[in-house]
């Protein structure tokens, strides 16, 4: 499903009754099934943009559309995943992953069955009755991933979902993300501060300027799919990484 951003801008109220521009105005489209990575300096409005697309924040100006629908509230086709796993500490892994089904009114036996079928894919079998505090960071994030999968969204919004993990776990999880996506294609908008990760995963990378974020580079990544970890040594990969890095570094003056 296509996402369209039209003259989208967000300002936050600042002390003294003024408005602090945090994002935009930006205008661009995200194609159906596209894997888009958003990179940019910290504080440039990436999370703000994700929250607008998730329908959790009203833009100050302009608008965002999902297909033909104006995004003015959370839409069922769009799911969001946060930097920390954001699990409920009082729920077991099983009940945390099953939450979207529970909200949708699916019967308990049925939703537990669905989750149990998903657990091996998430490498979480045997942990369904554990509580979030008993999980490692990587496992918690995989549980959060499972929760998103059960929403069956057409569009995934991922705000630095692996940002808090160590480099190896992060790489493993991002490749798992690709694998999951190959089975059923979705539109993905992924925020990351890791340029290699962005090039390895994306069809397209958008680089945002300093606050208020505006599009300063829009780079197509035409590496062949399926992607694999060893690609990072290929000359084409290095060329693209360099291109993204240079556009980010051009921001420093």
């Amino acid at each position: 499903m296509r996402l369209r951003l039209q003259q989208l801008a967000v300002s936050y109220p600042a002390p003294g009754g003024t408005l602090l521009p945090a994002l935009g105005p930006i205008t661009f489209d995200i194609a159906d099934d596209e894997f888009l990575c958003l990179v940019g300096p910290s504080g440039c409005g990436k999370s703000t943009l994700i929250r607008v697309l998730a329908g959790l924040l009203q833009p100050t100006a302009g608008s965002a559309y999902c297909g033909d629908a104006l995004i003015d509230r959370p839409l069922p086709d769009i799911a969001i995943m946060f930097q920390d796993a954001n699990l409920m500490p009082w729920r077991t892994v099983l009940d945390n992953i099953a939450l979207p089904l529970e909200i949708a009114g699916v019967a308990e036996s049925e939703r537990h069955q669905t989750v149990r079928e998903l657990l091996p894919q998430l490498n979480l079998d045997g942990f369904e009755l554990a509580y979030p505090a008993e999980l490692s960071g990587g496992m918690a994030q995989r549980a959060a991933l499972g929760r998103v999968i059960l929403q069956q969204p057409r569009i995934w919004l991922l705000d630095e979902p692996f940002g808090a993990l160590d480099a190896l776990t992060r790489e493993k999880l991002s490749l798992e993300l690709l694998r999951l996506r190959q089975r059923s294609r979705q539109t993905i908008v992924l925020v990351t501060h890791d340029i290699s990760e962005a090039v390895l995963l994306a069809d397209r990378i958008i680089v945002l300027s300093r606050r208020p974020g505006a599009v300063i580079a829009d780079i197509a990544i035409d590496l062949p799919r399926p992607r694999f970890a060893a690609m990072i040594y290929q000359p084409e990969f290095l060329r693209l990484t360099k291109q993204v890095r240079e556009s980010i570094e051009s921001l420093r003056d």
């Binding site: 998730a54 920390d84 009082w90 990587g138």
Partner: protein, 269 residues
């Protein structure tokens, strides 16, 4: 917090058998206290009129149980508490929830609430007796009033402490208001609310007994005063200890509920 990802069985926890001793230690404290009490009276360190020996108190207890005095008065007090406690707790929960959701309400209600809380209950108990009469209903109200405040404060703290990121999650799942309450706000605030309920449980006895002191036909508060005026010191002790037992049982009941409900907290530390 984060454990490693191995699935090996967990090594036995240290202090596993220390738990039994920890559970039994309050009982040991009580036993020691009774022994000390016995010796004090046995060696006549203090006049027996001031502190009767445990055996005499036990006799008095047996008598009060046999002739139904204790059951009658304790029954009255318990009845008042069992109505006043849920009443005050529900009002505290409802107003606390409303205040947590609408901060403007706090500004509007805070003068009343603070005034209520800073006036000692003994001061307005007579007022409540005038309004509600010397029957049980005035004690139901004193109990409700005294348990209201801890419930209120803990509900506000609990609901305000709900993670905004989990709120975002529930909103993005298109959860209804009721689902947000039932599946997020309530379980998230429950540890704090139960802590408040433990305080309320012990305060409930105070509320009922203070009401009875001021004016009543029966109840443990009345029994204490009549026993004292008849110089029946053992009966005074029996009555006071009954109040303690009621407060302790109620507290333990809430603690038990807490223990059953908050499994995840024990597992998470």
């Amino acid at each position: 917090m984060a454990k490693n990802e191995s699935t090996q069985p967990e090594i036995a926890r240290p202090y596993a058998n220390g738990v039994v001793w920890r559970r039994l230690s309050p009982l040991a404290t009580v036993l020691v206290l009774i022994l000390v009490w016995h010796w004090i009276t046995d060696w006549q360190l203090v006049s027996r009129i001031l502190i009767p020996p445990p055996a005499q108190v036990l006799q008095s207890l047996a008598k009060a149980l046999a002739d139904g005095t204790l059951a009658k008065h304790a029954g009255t007090t318990l009845g008042e508490m069992m109505l006043g406690l849920p009443l005050g707790v529900s009002i505290g929960l409802a107003i606390g929830y409303a205040i947590a959701k609408a901060p403007l309400l706090e500004y509007i209600l805070s003068p009343i609430i603070v005034a209520f809380q800073s006036t000692p209950i003994v001061a307005y108990a007579p007022l409540l007796i005038i309004i509600f009469g010397t029957g049980p209903s005035s004690k139901v109200v004193t109990t409700a009033v005294i348990v209201f405040f801890p419930t209120l404060v803990n509900t506000i703290v609990g609901i305000r402490g709900v993670s905004p990121r989990l709120r975002d999650l529930m909103r993005s799942l298109n959860a209804s208001r009721w689902q947000i309450f039932r599946k997020l706000e309530l379980p998230s605030a429950l540890p704090v609310i139960l802590a408040g309920l433990k305080t309320s449980a012990t305060l409930a006895v105070i509320g009922a007994v203070v009401g009875e002191f001021v004016g009543s036909g029966s109840g443990l508060g009345v029994l204490v005063i009549s026993a004292r005026s008849q110089y029946d010191t053992p009966l005074v002790y029996v009555t006071v200890l009954t109040m303690t037992a009621i407060a302790l049982s109620l507290y333990s009941l809430v603690a038990l509920v807490e223990w059953r409900v908050l499994v995840w907290q024990r597992r998470s530390t």
